[in-house]
């Protein structure tokens, strides 16, 4: 049974592409394209100005080059910055009006868009290429005052909120990819949780790149007002293509007083084939701001896909007593490369942060944990604990740990530990003795290795992630 399952999953099962007519902006990156995007989305003037300002800034910025995984130069003029299913010109009012092909795509992906799957109890916002196609469970959420919609919709309906918070965590003047996103972002999710509300269900976004030659630039903005709580999930896939595709998203989280945001990602973009051809460049900027006192932001990520993953979900702990957490599993196989980690910037008093990172590399891949813990002089009595463990399979791959630790406050404590090792022969032997074959044994041991992080994921995701962990390592032993 399991063999069959593995056989099914061995190849990237989300590798199909859907034949849907789409509208694209002309190729290239220039003011006209930005105006085109802004125009087609009927954006107000301030947002267009904001985009153009970002574009001005972009002209003087250079791509960063300090990262470990190097990639061939991206020709930004050879990309489509906007691609939308044609039937979306007039946005459908309900799910019934959706293009059946689209629904089928999401069905293949296992996204519970349709009625019968609503039992799952997860509200989904699906983003197809550049635009958000459907959001479920709207009514239930609206009753509680929760806003969960695409960011384009939010710009139209809640401009005051978007204007107030957009770009406050990731400013226009940030690094190259973040600024690129600010200039050309097409869609994404918007979440606002009103004061004192505990979001009754998991909110989720599903991203999919379909068209070729497109970059996906979505922008997510989550605001948790005083005393609220939200758990947010993100998943992503893309079809198999020979060329590399760029995904440069920005995610901004803002937690006000006593609020808590939990953000989980299961990233499974197309990783390229066995020889490292094709795959997604996942260059994402994710940052959370614990603005109010006693707020909390927790990032959980399972990174198994993408040809290159390059991201550092970060927390700025500004409010006193705020807490930042980062749990990560990164798995690289074949020719995949990952450079990921987090930044914990302690500004407020009594702030706490915790980093648990598990990296597994196999095949010819390269995995880097890069992280920053910075305790500023005013962050009295702050604490950080970091643990990053790496597991290596074979001597063609690499695992690297590059933590930056800055302590400028004498009342604060930082503890960091890291280990790198391989699966011990004894453990393997023991498992095999009990009747597991080598691959199953490795799967079991790896799942144990990742357990601390997997526990942090919501139920439904945890099961999927656990499977994904096993599949990603197929063929790496023996």
């Amino acid at each position: 049974m399991r063999d069959k399952q593995i056989e099914d999953l061995k190849d990237y099962k989300y590798g199909f592409s859907t034949d849907i007519e789409s509208i694209k902006a002309p190729k290239g990156l220039n003011e006209d394209v930005i105006k085109f995007i802004s125009n087609i989305k009927k954006e107000p003037k301030w947002l267009l100005d904001w985009r153009l300002k970002a574009f001005e800034r972009l002209k003087v910025l250079k791509e960063p080059d300090w990262q470990k995984p190097k990639y061939p130069k991206i020709d930004y003029q050879d990309l489509y910055y906007y691609s939308a299913p044609k039937s979306f010109n007039d946005k459908p009012k309900s799910l019934d009006e959706l293009d059946p092909k689209l629904l089928e795509t999401y069905k293949k992906l296992g996204i519970p868009l349709q009625e019968q799957k609503r039992l799952n109890g997860i509200a989904v916002d699906a983003v197809f290429d550049s635009v958000s196609v459907a959001t479920t469970f709207k009514e239930t959420l609206t009753k509680q005052g929760i806003i969960f919609c695409s960011i384009s919709e939010a710009v139209q309906e809640h401009p005051e909120l978007v204007k107030k918070y957009l770009g406050t965590v990731i400013p226009l003047t940030d690094h190259f990819f973040a600024t690129l996103n600010s200039a050309v972002f097409t869609d994404g999710s918007f979440v606002y949780i009103p004061p004192g509300v505990r979001c009754p269900m998991e909110l989720s976004t599903y991203f999919r790149i379909n068209a070729s030659d497109t970059g996906q630039f979505e922008r997510t903005l989550i605001i948790a007002d005083k005393g609220s709580y939200v758990s947010y999930l993100e998943g992503c896939t893309a079809p198999m293509r020979d060329e590399n595709q760029l995904h440069a998203a920005n995610v901004e989280l803002i937690a006000l007083e006593d609020a808590e945001i939990k953000y989980s990602t299961v990233q499974n973009w197309y990783p390229g084939d066995k020889d490292g051809k094709g795959g997604i460049y996942n260059f994402v900027t994710k940052r959370g701001l614990c603005k109010g006192n006693n707020s909390k932001i927790s990032w959980t990520q399972v990174e198994t896909g993408s040809a290159i993953t390059w991201k550092y979900p970060s927390c700025i702990l500004k409010g006193d007593n705020s807490i930042g957490e980062f749990y990560s599993i990164a798995i690289t196989n074949n020719h995949q490369k990952a450079d990921t980690g987090t930044k914990m910037i302690h500004l407020g008093k009594n702030t706490k942060s915790k980093i648990i990172s598990k990296g597994i590399s196999a095949g010819y891949s390269d995995m880097t944990y890069r992280g920053l813990v910075d305790i500023s002089p005013n962050a009295t009595n702050s604490n950080n604990f970091t643990q990053c463990d790496s597991l290596l399979m074979g001597n063609k791959c690499g695992a690297h740990t590059v933590p930056y630790i800055k302590n400028k406050n004498s009342d604060s404590n930082i503890a960091h530990e890291a280990t790198t090792s391989k699966i011990s022969e004894e453990q393997l032997h023991y498992c095999q003795q009990r009747g597991l074959n080598a691959e199953e044994a490795v799967g079991l041991i790896v799942n144990g290795f990742c357990k601390e992080v997997l526990q942090q994921l919501p139920m439904e995701f945890a099961v999927e992630a656990q499977k994904l962990v096993g599949i990603s390592l197929e063929g790496s032993v023996g």
């Binding site: 290596l392 503890a415 090792s421």
Partner: protein, 415 residues
């Protein structure tokens, strides 16, 4: 500064007799330095300390030419009395005395006036600067199967008239098979506001042992940089201990290539900083073959506005299976203005390895102080006792008994 550099460089070429080949070598290095300048924050290795800024704010304009000919006499240097030793005295970057009086003469070969023709590898701009301006360097060869009876103490000193100068020195050591050498570096500064640049090359043949102890205890206003390059063959051992304390700024860089099986490297360090001192240790341990071992331990005690940086890197190549690499740094911040930065880095390409690192920083444990005070010590004594215990860990790692005691005395640490 560029003008001054060019003038000084020309002067240097003119006033010392170099062969054409040497001149060429110096010119290549000089051009490279001009291109790169003093290291700044843009370089990953200097992320936490910007040398060009440090020189600007602490020294100002530097001059690069040292006229050795006129002042050949040795300034009065306080020598170590506690320990019988061989001497090597460097004043303003120039070796003024070499004395191996305790050793068999035919077992040690000292080659002065050595010169290099080609750049073997481009390390950093400061080594280029050293190559361009240092006088002919000295090479010390320890002959097969000989262990030096007494340690070699290298005194680094400056002339009392030397100010706002850059001094460069370089020594190469070759330890032939089955030899043992202990080197103690001691800094005795007679003048202020200089930039002292030291470059050592160690070649360790089979089964040789090198112990290098760097002691920077005298309080002074100089900016120092030291680079140790260690190449290790099979079964060799290198031990480096750094006591970083007195200078305004001191960066110790250690690069260890473990090229032979069963070779091992140990790097231990203490930062004991006060006032506005800013010190850094950067280590690069490269495990290149199977069955090699490295161990690093760095502890810091930081007072007032001082700042310590520890950047330790363990590199394991894909051939270097069965590597054992360990790295630990602890820091105690005693003042709210002190700062500790660390970047413990692992870069690993082999799977059958055991590598780990740990780093912690924080304040003194109040409970321990309370415990000691309840036993009758006052706050100051309790604090001192705890700090001594904390630092003793590193001192105990010193494998040489004589030198361990010397360092304990210097630091006022008693068991």
């Amino acid at each position: 500064m560029e003008e001054q550099l060019k003038i000084d460089f020309e002067k240097n070429l003119k006033n010392f007799s170099y062969s054409d080949q040497e001149k060429k070598f110096k010119e290549i290095n000089f051009k490279e330095f001009l291109k790169q300048g003093f290291p700044n924050r843009k370089l990953e290795n200097w992320k936490f300390s910007d040398l060009s800024q440090i020189i600007k704010s602490n020294i100002g304009e530097l001059s690069f030419y040292n006229n050795y000919s006129k002042e050949n006499q040795i300034e009065k240097i306080e020598l170590i009395n506690e320990l019988e030793h061989n001497k090597l005295i460097i004043v303003d970057g120039k070796i003024v005395k070499i004395d191996f009086k305790f050793e068999d003469k035919d077992k040690i070969e000292v080659l002065v006036d050595q010169s290099e023709k080609t750049i073997r590898k481009n390390i950093n701009s400061l080594i280029n600067l050293n190559n361009a301006f240092s006088n002919k360097f000295c090479k010390i060869i320890i002959k097969k199967n000989y262990s030096l009876k007494k340690p070699l103490v290298i005194y680094h000193s400056t002339n009392k008239n030397t100010h706002f100068s850059n001094t460069n020195s370089r020594i190469d050591f070759k330890l032939e098979e089955n030899t043992c050498l202990r080197v103690i570096d001691i800094f005795k500064d007679n003048s202020e506001k200089n930039f002292i640049n030291i470059y050592y090359n160690f070649e360790l043949d089979k089964s040789s042992i090198l112990k290098n102890y760097k002691i920077d205890k005298t309080i002074n206003n100089n900016v120092k940089y030291s680079y140790n390059n260690v190449n290790q063959e099979a079964d060799s051992i290198s031990e480096t201990f750094i006591l970083s304390s007195g200078s305004k700024f001191f960066k110790n860089e250690i690069n260890c290539d473990l090229q032979g099986q069963h070779s091992s490297a140990f790097v231990n360090g203490i930062f004991d900083l006060d006032e506005e001192n800013h010190h850094e240790i950067k280590s690069n341990i490269n495990h290149l073959v199977e069955n090699t071992k490295s161990y690093q331990l760095v502890k810091s005690v930081l007072e007032k506005k001082s700042k310590a940086v520890y950047q330790g890197k363990i590199f394991v190549s894909s051939e270097a299976q069965k590597t054992d690499g360990y790295q630990l740094s602890n820091a105690i911040l005693l003042s709210e203005n002190s700062e500790f930065n660390a970047k413990p880095e692992l870069e690993i390409y082999a799977d059958d390895v055991k590598c780990s690192h740990g780093s912690s920083s924080g304040s003194l444990d109040e409970n321990s102080i309370f415990y000691l005070m309840s036993r009758g010590l006052n706050y100051k004594e309790a604090k001192k006792l705890l700090i001594n215990g904390f630092l003793l860990d590193v001192i105990e790692k010193i494998t040489d008994g004589e030198i361990k005691n010397l360092i304990k005395d210097l630091m006022g640490v008693k068991e």
